[in-house]
């Protein structure tokens, strides 16, 4: 698991947080470094790609999205086509936003440079595993989520004589939000490919993300595991994430919401999710399997984003119909006691606050891929590799203890089964530090 170091393009806004490029080791938009498979001609197309993105600011209880920044489109794929529409070169945008595309044949005039929101791990990949799509709806409004045939986002620039395109920028009004979602979701899918699929593409489940400015969904933002999306003139994505695109929403900029929904996908496809689903609110205690499902998804969001920017970012935030919410999972457990803590005497099957589950996971996880959070140096740093190994293990997916269905107890059991040497320290941390009455006695396969 390689975290991408936060580059100079990242700015300190929300508790030193800001958006950042995707991992440099990711094949990104699938461009790889090749020229499309043929023999290079000697001509090249060069330039740089940047995009606009909005980042949140906290003022009291409010989250605002007034800050518009321009970032390098690290990980996007630059595709060059000739006047007849044939691909003659492809390359990945590097960490500084630059691309340098070797061509299969010399420039003859009329070439175009294309960027899309279609991702596959390599040039040789058998399919597309991530697509950000434009829902085929009749303008702004609120729609019922469902399967559809949708076009991917695509941007085009003309290639001048000599091939030096210069600096191109995708502005907000040109749909830069779609590129933003695409780039951080590449990082998330690449993590799954590496840690849960051991590099085997056949195990990856494809996801179509539907987003368009002004288009909202009756579910707000949601993940649906049984709703496929057909890419127009292309393959089918097996599952869907619907993102609200209204001006009063966190929209494409709400990376915690998008990654939360993708976290549900990760649980459903690579681990186990027994949640009944449905509405869930701040500070409510809910059934263990429901709390685990939601807590896992939010933990996946903040840990994935933290690795993307290379520093701890334990903040969840969202804007819904102009109303905002933020939660600091690092601070909440220990400073202020804002979360609904478990009852030490109520046993392992008690209902839990989903945010408390996130906070427990965060404190078990932080300190390995990124530094410990500010609130508490707890001495436990499980890290992403080990978390995901436990998450996808047989103990997690096939056994059941604690509450009915997969829950926090099953995860702890799976962790201890995989990490026998840390049994004592993890159990102590959970019971004494986090206050959850875990018995520390897993049954292991």
């Amino acid at each position: 698991m390689n975290a991408s170091p936060c580059r100079s393009a990242c700015l300190g806004l929300l508790l030193a947080f800001l958006g950042c490029p995707s991992p440099s080791d990711s094949p990104g938009g699938g461009g790889g470094g090749g020229g499309g498979g043929g023999t290079p001609s000697g001509d090249r197309v060069r330039g740089s790609l940047f995009y606009q993105a909005r980042f949140p600011s906290v003022a009291g209880g409010a989250i605002t999205l007034d800050t518009l920044e321009t970032l390098p489109a690290v990980g996007a794929a630059a595709v060059v086509i000739d006047a007849g529409g044939e691909v003659i070169g492809m390359a990945q945008v590097d960490g500084d936003g630059n691309f340098d595309v070797p061509l299969q044949r010399d420039l003859a005039g009329g070439e175009l440079l294309i960027f899309t929101t279609l991702w596959a791990p390599t040039l040789q990949s058998s399919g597309i595993f991530l697509a950000v799509l434009q829902p085929p709806v009749d303008g702004p409004g609120t729609y019922e989520p469902g399967s559809a045939t949708s076009a991917p986002w695509a941007w085009v620039a003309q290639v001048p004589d000599g091939g030096d395109v210069g600096r191109v920028e995708i502005r907000e009004e040109q749909g830069s939000g779609a590129l933003y979602v695409f780039l951080f979701m590449i990082a998330a899918q690449a993590t799954i490919l590496e840690d849960l699929c051991n590099g085997n593409e056949d195990c990856l489940v494809s996801v179509g993300i539907l987003w368009y400015p002004g288009v909202n969904w009756t579910c707000g933002a949601c993940y649906s595991r049984e709703t496929p999306q057909q890419i127009q003139n292309g393959p089918e994505m097996r599952q869907s994430i619907f993102l609200a695109g209204g001006a009063q929403e966190s929209s494409a900029w709400g990376f915690t919401v998008t990654l939360h929904e993708f976290g549900h996908s990760v649980a459903a496809n690579y681990s186990r999710d027994d949640s009944p689903g449905g509405p869930h609110g701040f500070g409510q205690t809910i059934a263990p399997a429901f709390a685990w499902s939601e807590g896992w998804a939010s933990f996946f969001a903040v840990s994935t984003f933290s690795r993307w920017i290379g520093e701890p970012f334990p903040m969840y935030w969202d804007i819904q119909e102009g109303n905002s919410l933020w939660i600091d999972y690092d601070a909440m457990t220990y400073f202020g006691g804002d979360l609904v803590r478990p009852d030490p005497g109520a046993g392992m099957a008690q209902n839990l606050d989903e945010s408390y589950v996130v906070s427990m996971l965060w404190h078990l996880w932080d300190g390995a891929d990124v530094a410990e959070g500010n609130a508490w140096n707890d001495g436990i740093a499980i890290g992403t590799d080990r978390v995901l190994r436990a998450f996808g293990s047989e103990r997690m997916t096939r056994w059941d203890r604690g509450g009915e269905g997969a829950d926090f107890v099953d995860f702890l059991d799976a962790l201890l089964c995989a990490e026998g040497g840390q049994t004592g320290s993890v159990t102590r941390m959970v019971t004494e530090g986090l206050g959850f009455p875990y018995d520390g006695q897993p049954g292991c396969p």
Binding site: N233, H264, G277, I319, N323
Partner: protein, 162 residues
């Protein structure tokens, strides 16, 4: 017989869980305020309804913001809603003079060391509050197949001057 019923019940529960679990949604924001009003001459009666949807770690504060020259005749301009930390609804009434068609705004806000929430509503509804988003305009391009997807239109972008 009992075992048979139990078996059916478990099966139905499993089907229900699968159906319900098919779609996951985001966590709801815990505070929502609405503001309605009635005018009689120069006097307006405003009703703010604060809905608490979760369990809040701190009491929310309700603030009324008036345009210059308008005057609060009845009601409290800023109030900590001490009991409003559990799911429920709180209503407050304000009587205001001198709005003259301009906008009054209420803000409900909760801030604690580890969490925050805010909701705002205006009466009459503020037109500026609705930000119209420009729609990206795509143009036809020579059909090209990228990763097995035939792309026929794209949004034009131009190099920025050096």
């Amino acid at each position: 017989m009992v075992r048979w019923f139990c078996g059916i019940a478990i099966l139905l529960a499993a089907i229900g869980a699968q159906a319900g679990g098919n779609r996951h949604t985001r966590i709801e924001v815990p505070l929502k305020v609405t503001l309605s009003g009635e005018e009689a001459g120069d006097r307006a009666t405003l009703i703010a309804e604060v809905e608490v949807r979760g369990r809040l770690p701190a009491a929310p504060v309700l603030r009324l913001q008036l345009p210059e020259g308008a005057r609060l005749v009845e009601g409290v301009p800023e109030e900590t809603l001490a009991g409003a930390t559990e799911p429920g609804q709180v209503t407050r009434t304000f009587v205001v003079e001198g709005l003259q068609g301009r906008t009054a705004t209420v803000v409900a806000e909760m801030v604690s060391p580890g969490a925050g929430a805010r909701s705002q509503a205006s009466w009459p509804m503020s037109r500026e509050a609705i930000r119209v988003q420009p729609t990206p305009q795509a143009v036809p391009i020579p059909p090209v197949e990228v990763r097995g997807v035939r792309i026929q239109q794209a949004i034009p972008i131009e190099p920025t001057p050096r």
